[in-house]
């Protein structure tokens, strides 16, 4: 069997998730032993339009981007959303609180940019709001081990397993003191695990970058909010950073 051909593409993002792959260091060699990387603009000059798996970083901001992602979808047998921007819209969605004209004026002032197609933006969309996504690698940035697991599963033709329980489970396993106890507001109770609770383990609250669980334990959360004298409104406000307008995450 020939190795699957993999291509990386990026849209509106910080490219930090592709950087996690470059940061696999020596393990990149293991990766290229099971797949052929045919396009990866960030690190290589060569490019091919003949690929089996398209890995997408970034969210969709403009009609011109939408056209490009549709063309990629047509060519790819499997499409993977890589990282929070692609998978759930991520921080890019914060600006969806306002319309495009409002944010353009805030950043570019009175400059005449409206007849420039590069600025022709609409409220940003996660990739699955435009084309079908087969698999998701969550996180901002992605977790390198999870990425390796997903690629290995795809090569073996298996469905990658993504946790359906909250970050609290992993946080407890790491024996951390609950951040609510330390007076911090943490989104761990409603956020999909899989990051090994990296933020709480480093003393910082979870910001929900892996997306809100499809069925968050509402009663349990209410209990946490009551115990620490916090409101549902405050929690929703905290959710704006990664999960604006997203009530639940898909594909579980």
């Amino acid at each position: 069997m020939s190795k699957p051909r993999v291509a990386f593409f990026d849209f509106a993002s910080c490219e930090g998730c592709q950087l996690q792959i470059a940061d696999l260091e020596e393990e990149v060699l293991d990766l290229i032993s099971i797949v052929d990387v045919v396009s990866f603009r960030e690190v290589m000059k060569e490019h091919s339009d003949d690929y089996d798996i398209a890995i997408i970083e970034g969210s969709i901001n403009r009609p011109m981007d939408e056209e490009r992602i549709k063309q990629i979808r047509e060519k790819a047998k499997i499409l993977v959303a890589l990282g929070a921007c692609a998978a759930i819209g991520g921080v890019n969605k914060i600006r969806n609180q306002w319309d495009a004209e409002n944010v353009k004026k805030d950043v570019y002032g009175d400059a005449k940019i409206n007849d420039n197609k590069y600025f022709d933006v609409y409220p940003t969309k996660a990739v699955d709001e435009v084309v079908k996504v087969d698999y998701y690698v969550y996180g901002c940035p992605i977790n390198r081990d999870e990425f390796k697991k997903v690629v290995t599963s795809l090569v073996m033709g298996k469905k990658p397993e993504i946790p359906t329980y909250p970050v609290c489970v992993e946080c407890k396993k790491n024996e951390n003191v609950c951040l609510f106890e330390l007076g911090k507001f943490c989104l761990g109770p409603i956020t999909r695990a899989g990051c090994n609770a990296i933020c709480p383990t480093n003393g910082s609250p979870c910001d929900g970058c892996r997306g809100i669980l499809r069925k968050p334990e509402i009663e349990c959360i209410q209990d946490v909010l009551d115990r620490y004298n916090l409101t549902y409104e405050e929690m929703k406000n905290r959710c704006i950073m990664y999960n604006y307008s997203k009530e639940e995450c898909k594909n579980e």
């Binding site: 990026d10 849209f11 509106a12 993002s13 910080c14 490219e15 930090g16 998730c17 592709q18 950087l19 996690q20 470059a22 940061d23 260091e25 020596e26 060699l29 290229i32 990387v37 603009r41 960030e42 690190v43 290589m44 000059k45 060569e46 490019h47 970034g58 901001n61 403009r62 981007d65 991520g90 921080v91 890019n92 914060i94 600006r95 609180q97 306002w98 409002n102 944010v103 353009k104 805030d106 950043v107 570019y108 400059a111 940019i113 420039n116 590069y118 600025f119 933006v121 901002c140 940035p141 990296i198 933020c199 480093n202 003393g203 910082s204 910001d207 704006i240 950073m241």
Partner: protein, 433 residues
Amino acid sequence: MSKDLSINVHHVTRVEGHGNIVVDVKKGEIKQIQWQVPEAPRFFEAMLRGRHYDELRPITSRICGICSIGHSLASLKATEDALDIKISTQSQILRRLAINGENMQSHILHVGYLAVPDLLGVGSVFPLVGSKHQDALLKIVKLHRISNEMSDLICGRTTHPIRLIVGGFSMVPNKKQLMDLRKKLQDSIKPTKEVAEVILSVADKIPDFTRETEYIGLSSNEEYALYDGYINSTDTGAFKDYKNYTKMMQEYIVPQSTAKYAKHARKSYMVGALARYNLNSKQLHPLAQEVAKMFEFKPICFNPFMNNIAQLVEFVHNIEDSIIQVDKLLKKEIKDEKPIKPKKDSGQGVGVVEVPRGILVHDYTIKNNKCTKANCIIPTNQNHANIQHDMEEFVPQILDKSEKEIELNLEMLVRAYDPCISCSTHYLKVKFV
């Protein structure tokens, strides 16, 4: 020369983000040379409106995957300036380590993985596996890993750091971890020198092109400025009124780009490792000075391609400086400190730091703990105009080369700036019509 040129490089590779180069030559006459940045704009400054001051750091970190530590530090400095927070000496030392770690990982990634393939005549680092340069490649990989491990230790994570918070750190490394780090840094000096030798052996491939321009960066009386200092220019000298940074960095908008451009005393200026080297080379640590000497690299150097060598020199400096900073921490016993609380809930603050690609400014207005207005001046935006003017002067000088060589030379020029277009918005393409 009466040739027509039709080169089309759509999305220059091995750079961060998307950019295009358009060159149109008809019968030897240059019709158009354009550096285009059509990256999808992301509107970060607008996103910050209404966010609590604690969230500004994690949000702005996401401007750029490669310089997320630098954005985090500029953000923290702006917030702390606005809310009158003075961080502890220990935090200041740790933040210097954070910035050294980022400079190291970004520079070795750029020099080793993105720029060196051009000097060795290959399309990426992958073909170097199994070649006579495999040994050098493995050393580069090792140095890159050590840089990332240092950032992981100090910041909790290299890309989108976690421990950097308003008022200090959410967690600090322990003594044993610092001692291990010190050993790793010490052990990386030898392979660094060996990598420098390999680069020196192909340094004749670095194009000999110079164009006089202005260089802007931070300078300090105490040290080779990265975390702190005053704004300085090779044309106009020290500028200590940091809150009026827009006098030094005048941004404007051009039609071919979603990124802003900038100018100061001339039509363009350059920021980054070469600018810092040109301004502050005397303050580099001894080994870094030695590596600069190997390349006969002297300030003021007007060859933008030498930015790669300036990055290599800074990499050595960052290792030496990190050992010094770790020793300071070990001498005083590192301790868990609570972050310093704000003295007020409203104010305007500016944070200026040097990040791998140059001087970076965040400027926030905060009212009742929430951000009402933000402005960020990104290094790569300050370089776009200089790239454009370099191209205009470089193309006529290389017009007798083959189309392929011209294309490669222009791509190398762009790559030498190590543009981070995600930061500045994001996009790049060379098109010889």
